[in-house]
Symmetry: C2
Subunit: 526 residues, 2 copies
């Protein structure tokens, strides 16, 4: 039986706070630093490693973190989750996104069936549909193949699938698995839909409407925008659109769609990239086999997250170090810095995943907590970030923990040698240099050129950003966020914080306003 307790009630947390602080600049210097880099590394799926040598930890801190993991019953809670316990206490729902890519524990029955069969069955339907689109069995009214797929969705129906698409777009092109270009419409700003429609050939475009409830206002508005455009072009919207939604949604049985693929309430939007939400657009773009490889990578990484040995469980280890940084060392932000242009929108996805899951002030029983929870997440790809905000990261007054990601090889196999090194070598040399620069700093008599160091980072290193590696990366961060939610004793799977804005926006549109709301509305002539 798992016990749900606030972090500040745990003995191991009190002990963790008392462990001596690590002087990062000191321990990362010389031979000791070299030893740390060799030692503080744990294998991930898809041949990757999570290296945490440049974090402000040592064996004593790790020992205390392992005790915290044990007292907080992190693996037991994960087990309860994947075995179908109602972990989402706010909405009284199970949390089953892991099941879209494997079966970690017992079979889970709900809604009159086996949930794993349900998710794999929907993915099978999507695969068959995608194959028919690619072969031209499903085609436009003129019998011509669809060439473009446009996802209409917002939040988790947009950020994750978009980030995954960009991550594999060029990989698929050079590996001859690129089937259809994908575009995304998300914002209720009409310029978003209009801008995308301006760049595509409507007659050869297939739209994927994604809304679990079938009531997301932004998404239904954009659907209508697109339908108008299709009709104006003399096309039948019902022949150009599929839906990804829940079986109980108004979209589920509608004749407005070529097909409908189903999800359910046990998978939250920000955890839905491996469900049909990501599955439809990615299978259409790259083929179902590539999407299956992505799921395999995630499944392999999920298995590692079940490991009770913290030092062999990268997601749990990453989570605990993050808690140490947030609650003991007092750092409020984390920057995610992939040295891979293909991961350009991966930080934006993690921003939602992390901040929407753990940006909470009450525990899972609705009682206020007395400690900081989820951090601010931001990031851009290196080396671009180096020429942008790294100045503050190196010499600013606040310390920001860093999460690097890098790959030995690029995706496209085209490169150039300048000054005796390839671009890929320069890219890798830069991330290596940054880790050491942040950790060790460099004293200079000119204080303006002085680097204090002591700025912690970790790095995930892989051979290449393949579908498997991407799946493993995604799983790693999903599970990290989940474990942190367990440690903070919060419900990482609801998002009540988005409701008030929706309610007030409706009042504004209904002209039921007073006070400040009315004057602001007047300023916009609403």
């Amino acid at each position: 039986m798992v016990m749900w307790n606030n972090l500040d009630t745990l003995t191991s947390y009190q002990e963790l706070s008392k462990v001596g602080r690590v002087n990062l600049a000191e321990v990362m210097s010389g031979d000791n630093g070299a030893e740390r880099v060799k030692k503080y590394s744990v294998p991930m799926a898809a041949g990757m490693v999570y290296n945490y040598a440049a974090k402000q930890i040592d064996d004593k801190v790790l020992e205390a973190l392992a005790k915290l993991a044990e007292e907080a019953q992190l693996t037991e809670k994960f087990e309860a989750l994947y075995n179908g316990e109602v972990i989402n206490t706010g909405e009284k729902r199970m949390v089953l996104h892991h099941m879209t890519r494997g079966q970690l524990g017992e079979a889970v029955e709900a809604d009159g069936g086996d949930k794993r069969d349900f998710y794999t069955g929907e993915q099978q339907k999507i695969a068959e549909f995608a194959n028919k689109v690619h072969s031209g069995v499903i085609a436009n009214a003129a019998g011509e193949k669809f060439t473009t797929v446009v996802q209409i969705g917002i939040g988790g129906s947009d950020l994750g699938p978009r980030a995954m698409y960009l991550a594999l777009e060029n990989w698929a092109k050079v590996n001859n698995t690129f089937k259809m270009e994908a575009k995304f419409i998300s914002n209720v700003d009409p310029d978003d839909a209009a801008g995308v429609l301006n760049t595509i050939d409507l007659a050869h475009s297939l739209f994927v409407l994604v809304s679990k409830s079938g009531t997301t206002l932004e998404t239904l508005t954009n659907e209508s925008f697109v339908k108008d455009a299709l009709k104006n072009a003399g096309l039948d919207p019902a022949k150009h659109m599929v839906a990804v939604t829940s079986e109980t949604s108004p979209l589920a049985k509608s004749d407005d769609y070529l097909a409908a693929f189903f999800m359910d309430d046990y998978i939250g939007g920000r955890f839905s990239s491996t469900s049909g939400v990501g599955g439809a657009v990615l299978s259409l773009a790259f083929g179902p086999e590539v999407f299956a490889r992505f799921l395999d990578g995630a499944a392999e990484e999920d298995k590692l997250a079940t490991n009770k040995d913290m030092l062999a469980n990268p997601a749990m280890l990453d989570a605990l170090i993050g808690v140490y940084e947030r609650n003991v060392l007092g750092y409020p932000d984390t920057a995610v810095l992939p040295y891979s242009q293909a991961l350009s929108r991966f930080p934006a996805h993690l921003q939602q995943l992390d901040m929407e899951s753990n940006g909470k002030s009450v525990n899972r029983f609705g009682e206020p907590v007395n400690y900081p929870t989820g951090p601010i997440i931001f990031g851009e790809p290196g080396t671009n970030g180096q020429h942008s905000f790294y100045q503050l990261l190196h010499q600013g007054t606040d310390i920001v923990p860093l999460q690097f990601v890098g790959f030995k090889n690029n995706q496209m196999g085209r490169d150039v040698v300048i000054e005796d090194s390839t671009s890929q070598q320069k890219l890798c040399a830069n991330v290596v240099a940054q880790i050491v620069a942040f950790a060790c700093g460099k004293a200079d008599e000119n204080r303006n050129k002085n680097f204090e160091g002591g700025r912690p980072s970790s790095i995930i290193i892989g051979d290449q950003l393949t579908p498997e590696a991407l799946g493993a990366l995604l799983s790693h961060f999903e599970n990290k966020v989940m474990f942190q939610g367990f440690v903070w004793n919060i419900n990482s799977f609801d998002q009540e914080g988005v409701q008030l804005g929706k309610v007030l926006a409706k009042r504004v549109l209904a002209h039921e306003t007073d006070g400040a709301l009315k004057v602001y509305s007047d300023l916009f002539n609403i």
Copy 2:
């Protein structure tokens, strides 16, 4: 004579710290809230307003801030800056980016000439060049018009110009001033260049190489990558490439370029969007007239920044409220949230502008400061952010000040009515609702659905995102960052924090490593 003193030595700062805190949820409620929204508003250029009613301020705080502005001699320092004083003490340089869009004070002579004439002269050369490209006088070897312009640059040569291009791309299309599509190559990751080259027609592409020093390794590497591609396609790189650089750079007099346009050391990369760095690509994309309108908007806003009355100087007011939030209220982050899809990359530009300028720990004389300086900046467009990280902003344990931007009208004039309102109305209703939701919150017995409120924001409201409005927005934030640097007594115009990483990366590439640096290099097989 201006005096440069640390913030914590100023009497007015001590007084500011003692002013009573404002209970935002309270003052923004009811009639008082309505009055605040009407009262706490200041006109900006291009018909915009900066409304700060939902900030944690009242007349007493404003009075204290005005005294701080006076004691810190903010307008005097700005005056010294635009009259050519050596404000960039680290690099011993003047700071003249305002001059690219107007003449605020005295003429400034340097390098044997009038600097204003120099900047406008270069812009004139760019305009003439762009017109010749558009008319086909300058064309490819086959005599065909160039259709695509590709900027090769990184940091300030990428983020600002890219954000400005995206901001006006659709506006230009519907206003029939769209001349050439623009693409951007920045990252040293070879997949960046390869990915962009995959999507363009090389024979009809013109490349703009941007590097002030002519030695930026990422940019020269990408130039070489592009040249190889051009040669492999049987094209002469010298007929497809222009340079934007300083007159003393190795690129300046090279035969490798169709033309070279000049900048100088008095304009830092992150402040260079209104110089040739932004001027070449934007004039080619939209025509010189559009770029001139963008400059006009910036010039108009710059004039407002010279106003000694803080309440009529939006950039200075914004800067001071930000200092109050950072140093007195203790908030370490600021989120920038444009309710305009066209501004999708504007937050990324502001991230560089702000964090690279003010992420410093020493004052302008190289002495450590004892107070926090520049905050972390992050952001995404609304309504997307609402479905992502707003959960934390509403209900997280930390308070994040917010900077909203919104426009009454969209750019493209296409819209759809759903549930009795247009998309544009929904967009505006959402930003209005968010301001009030963040400020006032809403009590709920279920603590999980409770909103504390007290979360401060300001909003810039405009009619439409036109070139003038974009120029004014850019100027507003540039000047805000400048004023904050003055208050913190730091040099906002150098970036020594980027140097150490460069040095170490070179050592890695030369295999001159030991300790941690060597082991990390081995992990990447460098």
